[in-house]
Subunit: 588 residues, 2 copies
């Protein structure tokens, strides 16, 4: 059973609730992309995902990739090459690429919706376009005019695909350790080294593959400040094969149709992007956008898992309802939706999942504002919010999203453990999202060690202000009181812990903050969802239809049966480092 209905109604509701038309469609460059237009585009894209991408999802997992070590080639599972050709014709690949360079010029928010649907229906396959999208962003921001003209149109059309080559065997999280060398030769460089974990580093769907590679110039300073960024295409512009080869594939738990390559650069020709030794800037452009999309993977995979479990549950009968009035007559067992524990699992998923999507799109709107708003102050404010929420979204959404998939599998019992329902594949495919683009632990350190201290705590103040402004504006709305109260409590908890544990204790001893960064991020995530639920409930009450009533009921579940976990988490944050660091290494 493979099922997926694009959640367009949910997404439209969110964009309306968050004022997409006022905030984004009024911006220069986005005036052709009002909500109705975007939703029409997304309806078409969603149909493509469900009809063309989803049917190849299980095949991709079961057949996998074919690597030929003699020719360094990777053959995609049957049907993927044709799918890629159809995707190109369908035109979604350059959706957010700049219109001046062959792209469609749509807002990032629209790109996020497309990315969610593509991930949900075929995560492995969607990663190819995801990487290309990241490369387009990086080149659009940091490339020379000539580089843009050379590469962007080919990438936006999907004729060529992109990669990012960061990791090396000795360095993953800690990029300062990288050793790939770039020696100058004429107007270009020759790169030598080994890169690992290179997603779609080699495949047979596009005519050329453009690698964005981190390497060191001969005179580069040590560590992270001596890293430069290069474009290294598989085929040079004259068609010559550039010596950058896939010398192996990783064997992984999931995303088995996504080639994870070892790339050997053997004097490969490359062009510098941006300034020498400032390569991390360009890479961060790429990584920050990528981190939001990785967070959204938790939502995407949670969606398809939820829909699948619901399809199963609505058909399955086991046991009788505890409440005799709910028992169906003339049958020997009731549908399992009568059972409170089954309901609890569905409500756990639904009440976190919908708000997590909301948090991602609320932030997506701010990403568009940060890029395109005419007022610098507004841009800065939006950028602050994106910077603060990016690690939260990356980490919290992938973690809770993964738990939601596991809960969806649990609802289906033994059937969920078999390949028949694909839930086990979704779980395996989704597990990587807690690791790549910076592990979730690294995200927590980014939040606590970089984002909170920045500008004397300016980022968190911005976010608190957004929340308190909402609370203030709705303090006389009786229908909102039950939702505002816990939000206020949660915000106070976050503020207090930020001051006492992270700032005061953490200033004296950074280990104090680092030791509890992960539970702090989780607490922060729940409170963020509490804010999003308030925005959604407010909009739902204004709409007053059946759809909105379900939202209100789901919000109540969230605040009564999920959100109170913040109290336990707060105590874990308060605990600090003492017992975390108490053991010697040989005591483990």
């Amino acid at each position: 059973m493979q099922i997926y209905n694009p959640p367009l109604k949910e997404i439209r509701f969110l964009l309306e609730a968050f004022g997409y038309d006022e905030q984004v469609a009024t911006l220069d460059g986005f005036k052709d992309f009002d909500l109705d237009t975007v939703m029409t585009l997304m309806e078409q894209s969603g149909r493509f995902c469900a009809e063309q991408m989803l049917p190849l999802n299980r095949v991709g997992d079961q057949v996998g990739l074919d690597y030929d070590p003699d020719n360094y080639t990777v053959t995609m599972p049957k049907g993927f090459k044709e799918l890629y050709q159809m995707s190109r014709e369908q035109g979604g690949m350059g959706l957010t690429a700049p219109a001046d360079y062959g792209g469609f010029g749509a807002p990032q928010t629209a790109g996020m919706i497309l990315s969610e649907m593509a991930t949900a229906t075929n995560k492995s396959y969607s990663m190819c376009a995801g990487l290309t999208h990241g490369l387009i962003d990086a080149l659009a921001s940091h490339g020379t005019e000539e580089q843009k003209q050379t590469f962007l149109p080919k990438l936006a059309s999907g004729e060529w695909s992109g990669t990012m080559c960061l990791t090396e065997p000795q360095c993953g999280t800690d990029l300062g350790l990288l050793t790939t060398k770039a020696e100058p030769e004429g107007d270009h460089y020759l790169l030598t080294g080994t890169k690992i974990w290179i997603t779609f580093g080699e495949h047979d769907m596009a005519d050329n593959i453009v690698h964005l590679v981190l390497a060191r110039l001969p005179d580069a300073p040590e560590g992270i400040k001596g890293i430069s960024l290069f474009i290294v295409p598989k085929f040079d512009l004259d068609g010559t094969r550039n010596p950058i080869y896939c010398t192996g594939l990783e064997h992984k738990m999931g995303i088995k149709a996504s080639p994870t390559c070892v790339m050997s650069l053997e004097g490969a020709k490359g062009w510098l992007v941006g300034e020498p030794n400032k390569g991390m800037r360009g890479m961060f452009t790429m990584m920050n956008a990528a981190r939001l999309l990785v967070g959204l993977e938790g939502v995407a995979m949670g969606e398809v898992a939820y829909q699948t479990a619901l399809e199963y549950a609505k058909d399955r009968r086991q046991g009788r309802a505890l409440d005799a009035s709910k028992r169906e007559e003339g049958v020997s067992a009731d549908n399992i939706m009568v059972h409170p524990d089954v309901r609890r699992m569905f409500m756990n998923i639904k009440s976190t999942h919908e708000a997590m999507r909301g948090l991602a799109y609320w932030t997506g709107i701010r990403l568009d504002m940060a890029h395109n708003h005419p007022d610098e102050k507004v841009r800065q404010r939006a950028d602050d919010l994106v910077a603060l929420l990016t690690p939260v979204i990356k980490s919290f959404l992938t973690e809770v999203g993964f738990d939601n998939i596991s809960e969806a599998l649990q609802i289906c019992g033994g059937a969920g453990y078999t390949t028949d329902w694909s839930l086990e594949q979704h779980m395996r495919d989704a597990r990587i999202a807690l690791i790549y683009e910076g592990t979730n632990g690294i995200q927590a350190l980014d939040l606590v060690g970089r984002k909170l201290p920045r500008g004397g705590g300016r980022l968190l103040m911005r976010f608190s202000k957004e929340i308190t402004r909402f609370i203030e504006a709705n303090k006389d709305d009786e229908a909102m009181a039950e939702f505002i109260k816990p939000l206020k409590e949660g915000l106070e908890l976050v503020s207090n812990l930020t001051m006492s544990v992270l700032m005061q204790r953490g200033m004296q001893d950074p280990e104090e903050a680092a030791a509890v960064a992960s539970p702090y991020l989780k607490l922060f995530g729940y409170v963020s969802l509490g804010f999003i639920w308030n925005l959604m409930v407010k909009h739902a009450q204004e709409q007053g239809d059946a759809f909105g009533q379900t939202k209100v009921k789901t919000a109540r579940y969230f605040f009564s049966n999920v959100y109170p976990e913040i109290h336990g988490l707060a105590k874990l944050v308060e605990a600090g480092k003492a017992n975390v660091m108490a053991l010697d290494v040989d005591e483990f």
Copy 2:
């Protein structure tokens, strides 16, 4: 990388702390099994597991099973048949089988240790012996003398293996729905029907396979009260092939070397076990023992995952220590064990894992007392504790154990996601334990709906008494005060919630209790670990060695950085059913 060191030192510490020699080795039948003897046996067995079983674990996963639909045969992966032969010679298969029928007659506690080590090193393979062990228990309790003499020696030697055939396509949790028929013919019955999820229902390692099958007699009452139990061997005693065939295998997320069979009974010859229509009794004997062992799977797989992650971490260098004094000179990166977030993950695993093992063995000792103690009152008391803790152990240990494996994988980052470190296999293999032998949701309902109300709350009172007796006995021990305080608080929380939410609200409306049964069980689990940590710390302080000091530090982490989650969980329990059951089915 596949690594496993049998945790014998940990296990010995636990059995000493829980007074194994006084409680078990003094019982009739177990006098030859004092702690030293058991540990010597386990040292041999552990070596066998690590040297013979572990090397075939990844092969089993990657090669999998070969099913021949023409002959209904299942061929195990290469090496498994030889391994089975070695296991038979090694003699562990009949460890706890009755000595009068060819077994070794060892306590269940010893069986649990063996089971833990076997699961950790090759979960798929270990399930064959696990099922046989369950069949031996059921026949020893419910079979006729003739049945025992016929089957037990062959099962105890491993010459034959066993299965339990419960589930049918339309009934998993709800066995009352089963329809397999048993028609009388002479001294036996002819059984017709289809059974699914039959572990090791067919394989090529043993000479015969003995199925324990649930079916209905022609005149049986409807539902669960009309189910009888039958022995159905693959080959009749005269060697004739009995028409019970494997007509298909499930394709699963994990345990890929464990055949999960569809079994078709086409007039298969069977013998009644126990009384007509009382088949669930025999099956419960089997299931209860099995549930404890399934709970222990969370510990077993957590152990191998922890050891693997530690092996990885001790070798991996990334980033510099936040605390400058911990930075190693002359290197560009420190070992990742310096990072507080890595420590946090290890401590999360270690501090739950060790106490979960403790809870399992503490209960195992009571299982032996419940079976073999001369005093009926002591037997009853022990049986009450086992009955109460069985659903907690099955559910909590598999859930937290699974989370621990996932955390171990996370520590290894991208490497953990590859097959190279086997962590992804451990995670896939362990996921089934949350589902089979009664899903974890069913365990929570068993705890709340059956075990708590039984005898007017007698079972919980027994457990509370064990805890308060310990608290009372140690109230003047200053070194224990910091551990006793949270235990006392936790026990009060459990007692209060049991009274207010489950008893009072639940009596009026069973849905109230059912809706929060799962978070209640989780809370109960943490408090149970709190008790076990107290027992361990007390013993550690008496020993006063380095091993004990590590235990005390780990206990402190548990109480400061894990246990406070009970406060969030308590609020989820208090929330009750209102918002759990608020949606109509079509609102999902």
